[in-house]
């Protein structure tokens, strides 16, 4: 059955094909797309193509009051929004000389790690789906939802918590929250062996992911790779430890690394980080009740808030890598410039373009997902 107007197309003799991954490819969400040039099943070259998912954040921020942007920034990275809020707030606090109360700092750490757990569950769930292991994805999304329940309870919103504001956080922790958080952690920890059995020890996954999208540590450094992707090349670097913010210097945690630099290693690093995040959260739950005091320092009326002139560059470790905000104030009631240095835009464009070359078509989606890039942040 062919349409009446069908005409066979003469293919170029080179056997080169161009294929567009996304925006509607099932392997990738959002509008960001990836074009590959193929010879047979082998990728000859690759090109990232930006889309229009949540576009124009930086421009929008220049037109909004300092506080209004807190409702905007979490949208830059949907799966892992908390670091966006915290990093933006940190930048304004540095500019405005605001002292964030200790209790608020601990609450921020708690959210950051909750967000990391949720994001990692999403990330390897997504990766599993690219290799056809949809159960892992379903489980990951379902368990992430349990974390979102706690976000909803703490912040009033499931995904965009809009909970951190310059000066601290917006609400006190609800009664009984820490107990519920604690039992959630027990549950998640009990799930880890299930995930290992289903996915991380699964030979199908190991064989598919090993040596796929591999890079050396040297290459990673040269390409500006950060976060779990960098740690998967064996370099134990983490902003939380090496450029500490909030109260991370008071917390006990390890920085997992893997030597392989490939898709497998990147997923294994995330798997290990789940455990570390649970470990950090347990410490927060233990410490938080004894840290009393306000959850926010006094801030001026948001409608008449001039942040002192200056600039600040604040960095946090998001689940995807190094996230930084460069904020410039001219002393007005709106930012003069906000530059978001996101991990995803770096990974999803240059790094992915490099890694994809030479790989096989069926591995491209795996490479993409193992880098864990977040399309709205690329399109930012």
């Amino acid at each position: 059955m062919r349409p009446e107007n069908y005409q066979a197309k003469n293919h170029p003799p080179s056997h080169e094909f161009e294929l567009n991954f996304g925006p509607n490819h099932p392997g990738i969400e959002g509008n960001y797309a990836f074009k590959v040039k193929l010879n047979g099943d082998t990728v000859l070259s690759a090109r990232a193509d930006g889309g229009y998912l949540h576009r124009g954040f930086e421009k929008l921020m220049e037109g909004r009051l300092w506080i209004q942007n807190i409702a905007l920034v979490p949208r830059i990275c949907v799966p892992d929004p908390v670091p966006m809020e915290v990093c933006y707030s940190l930048a304004i606090e540095e500019l405005g000389g605001l002292e964030v109360p200790e209790r608020a700092q601990w609450i921020r750490v708690m959210q950051l790690e909750m967000s990391r757990l949720a994001a990692h569950l999403f990330a390897f769930g997504g990766h599993a789906a690219t290799t056809g292991m949809y159960t892992t994805m379903f489980w990951g999304v379902a368990d992430r939802d349990l974390i979102l329940d706690r976000f909803e309870e703490l912040t009033g919103g499931r995904v965009y918590s809009i909970y951190n504001i310059p000066g601290g956080v917006r609400r006190e922790v609800p009664d009984g929250f820490l107990e519920r958080m604690s039992s959630l952690l027990d549950y998640l920890e009990s799930r880890l062996p299930d995930y290992d059995n289903l996915f991380f020890r699964n030979q199908v996954f190991i064989k598919r992911a090993r040596d796929v999208g591999a890079m050396t540590q040297e290459q990673a450094l040269k390409w500006g790779v950060t976060g779990p992707n960098l740690r998967a090349t064996g370099l134990a670097f983490d902003v939380r430890r090496d450029d500490p913010y909030l109260v991370y210097d008071q917390l006990d945690f390890e920085i997992p690394t893997e030597p392989g630099g490939d898709a497998l290693s990147r997923n294994l690093v995330r798997r290990s980080e789940l455990k570390q995040s649970i470990r950090i959260l347990r410490q927060v739950i233990e410490r938080l009740p004894s840290i009393r005091g306000p959850i926010r320092c006094p801030i001026p009326n948001p409608l008449a808030w001039n942040v002192p002139a200056g600039e600040s560059y604040t960095r946090v470790e998001s689940s995807k890598g190094e996230l930084a905000y460069y904020v410039v104030s001219t002393g007005g009631d709106k930012p003069y410039r906000v530059h978001v240095r996101g991990p995803s835009s770096m990974h999803a464009v240059q790094v992915l373009e490099n890694l994809a070359v030479g790989s096989r078509l069926e591995d491209v989606a795996q490479i993409m997902f193992s880098l864990d890039a977040c399309p709205p942040e690329v399109d930012r």
């Binding site: 409702a71 917006r170 059995n197 009326n301 948001p302 409608l303 008449a304």
Partner: protein, 607 residues
């Protein structure tokens, strides 16, 4: 590195582990929407009783989702700071951040746990919602994200105002209030949410949001410019205004209102007198109109009219019976509340524009009204309420029973009189506090102790004087008794005043809220005094009109009948200020503007 067993290859029987899942409970989600968390950010509700339509939610909304909608039938009262507008939300734009809740000055708006709304394409109008207490679909849902002290973005506390300590102030007339530092002023100004309630409630509609904004921006000169758009008595109003603006201030709904009066004072004090004169002169016409206007009374109403009219190029002469300008602001307000040099500064701005003030000239005695009518194009009477009322209780005709306004004038003029060792003031308004505190200072100076009692008819719940006046008077040693009705001034057999007898007041208002005091005969007290000062009310001396003009004029319940421009039934004669509206500086200023506008219009027609 923690040992995670994912690296071992496991057993060939591994897959059998999945059999264990048969023992796990299946996960079932109900079809109905799951109840949301306690502080969920769902659809809005708005308590219309609390909401005042200040539109602060609209200003903080980062997505431009809020439209203000006028709702006929809802209360609307500029004096109380209430508009009949309510926010409507466009759920096509709202992102449920809840900033509107956190900043709401009244705490009326909150988000609920309701989060499902479905509609067809032709029902898109249902996205535009006017939140009321019943929720988007009229179904009850618990409140979600609501105002809490933690989340409140409104600063409920005023910057503290420094004052001279009671021990340092009770024997002198130095100004008590320090005024804001520039740092304090900027912080205080930053509390403002620019709702404009103050502007609407102010009798002269001062551009308070604009000058507060200018102060916040550190631009005191711009603030003065904004102030002079509507008030040439701002040193005075910056100190002693009745500040209806602060009553209407939306921040005052749950906390201290923005200290608008002190901010005005700050701006006026921060700019040099010379620069203020330059700013005030901006906009003065560069021609001479050839019209002559006479103004009787150099108080706020008269001089404000003079200010407006001289800026229009008219030749303005002000006739003042006393030897200094200011009227009641000089002769009624003690110097510790309003230093005379600040009043002088306000007046000098006006005279520097070319207004002539002829002092020691009493119209009706030195110059007749008929002369003014003949020689001037328009005449304004703004003579205020210079005479004190008497209780006329038995014994009140004794010479040691004085009237507060006269005594205050004497103190200002520095005329000598014998300061009583013990005195009682009848009355509970600010004038009563003024005379009590002034006499207390003189007592302290001369006798080293204060023996001063104020007997007010009203109870403290309905007190007329400002609370801070009461507090400060007490700090200075004045005893204030509430609910005391004057019965009789007691005179001994030698004709010497020995005190005042009062009866307890059971209640002061009837069920309609009108004054109708009820006394308790069994509760009689005698307050020793060698002087009793009556401070119950004031009136105008209209004798300047003479019988003939009085007959020609139309009257309304004892006051001159004036039209909406302040014009009397005589086309050349206007009347303004306290004598029309009762005692209030800022009202007098507003009235001055009003008659000036009326005269300007009249002169234009007359040509």
């Amino acid at each position: 590195m923690p040992d995670i067993p994912y690296k071992d290859k496991g057993s060939i029987l591994g897959p059998l582990k999945t059999l264990g899942f048969f023992a796990r409970r299946p996960v079932t989600e109900p079809f109905e929407p799951r109840p949301a968390a306690d502080s969920y950010r769902g659809f809005h509700v708005n308590d219309w009783e609390k909401c005042i339509g200040c539109s602060t939610c609209q200003k903080v909304c980062d997505n431009a989702a809020i439209t203000m909608v006028k709702i006929p039938g809802l209360p609307e009262d500029p004096v109380l700071g209430v508009r009949n507008e309510r926010p409507a939300i466009d759920y096509g734009r709202c992102c449920w951040c809840g900033l509107c809740v956190d900043i709401c000055p009244t705490g009326s708006i909150s988000l609920t746990t309701e989060y499902v709304h479905v509609c067809r394409e032709n029902e898109l109008d249902s996205y535009f919602v006017l939140p009321d207490p019943n929720g988007i679909h009229g179904k009850h849902f618990d409140k979600g994200w609501d105002k809490t002290a933690d989340a409140d973005l409104v600063d409920l506390h005023q910057q503290p105002m420094g004052e001279v300590e009671p021990q340092q102030r009770d024997d002198n007339f130095d100004e008590i209030v320090h005024g804001f530092t520039s740092q304090q002023a900027i912080i205080e100004a930053s509390r403002c949410v620019q709702c404009g309630m103050c502007h609407e409630s102010c009798p002269t509609h001062m551009n308070a949001p604009e000058y507060i904004r200018a102060i916040w921006e550190g631009n005191a000169e711009e603030a003065v410019r904004q102030i002079y758009r509507s008030n040439p008595f701002s040193h005075v109003c910056g100190r002693v205004c009745t500040r209806r603006c602060e009553t209407a201030c939306s921040i005052g709904r749950r906390g201290d209102p923005v200290a608008i009066r002190w901010l005005k004072r700050y701006a006026m004090d921060a700019v040099s007198d010379e620069r203020i004169r330059e700013i005030a002169a901006e906009g003065k016409v560069d021609y001479i109109s050839g019209k002559k206007i006479a103004i009787i009374g150099a108080g706020p109403a008269g001089l404000t009219a003079a200010y407006d009219l001289v800026k229009k190029g008219h030749d303005v002469t002000v006739f003042e019976a006393l030897d200094k300008p200011g009227g009641m602001t000089r002769y009624g307000i003690p110097e510790y509340r309003l230093p005379y040099d600040r009043l002088d500064a306000d007046v000098e701005v006006i005279t520097s524009l070319g207004v002539t003030i002829q002092y020691n000239t009493r119209i009706g005695r030195d110059i007749g009204m008929d002369v003014l009518e003949r020689d001037y194009d328009a005449v304004v009477v703004a003579i205020g309420l210079q005479q004190g009322r008497s209780t006329r209780i038995p014994g009140s005709d004794h010479k040691q029973v004085r009237k507060a306004v006269k005594l205050l004038r004497k103190i200002t003029q520095g005329k000598p009189f014998k300061v009583p060792r013990t005195a009682v003031v009848i009355g509970g308004g600010n004038v009563a506090m003024d005379i009590a505190r002034s006499l207390a200072r003189l007592q302290k100076q001369q006798y080293g102790e204060v023996r001063m009692t104020v007997a007010a008819l009203e109870d403290f719940d309905h007190f007329l004087a400002d609370p801070e006046e009461v507090t400060e008077a007490r700090e200075e040693g004045v005893v204030i008794l509430d609910s005391r009705g004057p019965k009789q001034c007691l005179v001994d057999e030698n004709g010497k005043l020995i005190g005042l007898a009062t009866l307890g007041v059971v209640s002061i208002f009837d069920q309609d809220g009108r004054f109708a005091p009820r006394y308790d005969d069994s509760d009689e007290q005698v307050h020793q005094a060698d002087m009793v000062i009556e401070s119950i009310g004031q009136m105008t001396d209209v004798s300047l009109f003479g019988d003939e003009l009085t007959e020609r004029l139309e009257w309304n319940r004892g006051r001159l009948r004036v039209d909406e421009n302040g014009r009397t039934s005589e086309p050349w004669l206007w009347s303004a200020g306290d004598m029309v509206f009762g005692p209030d500086v800022v009202h007098a200023v507003a009235d001055g503007h009003r008659v000036a506008a009326g005269i300007e219009e009249y002169l234009g027609v007359k040509q």
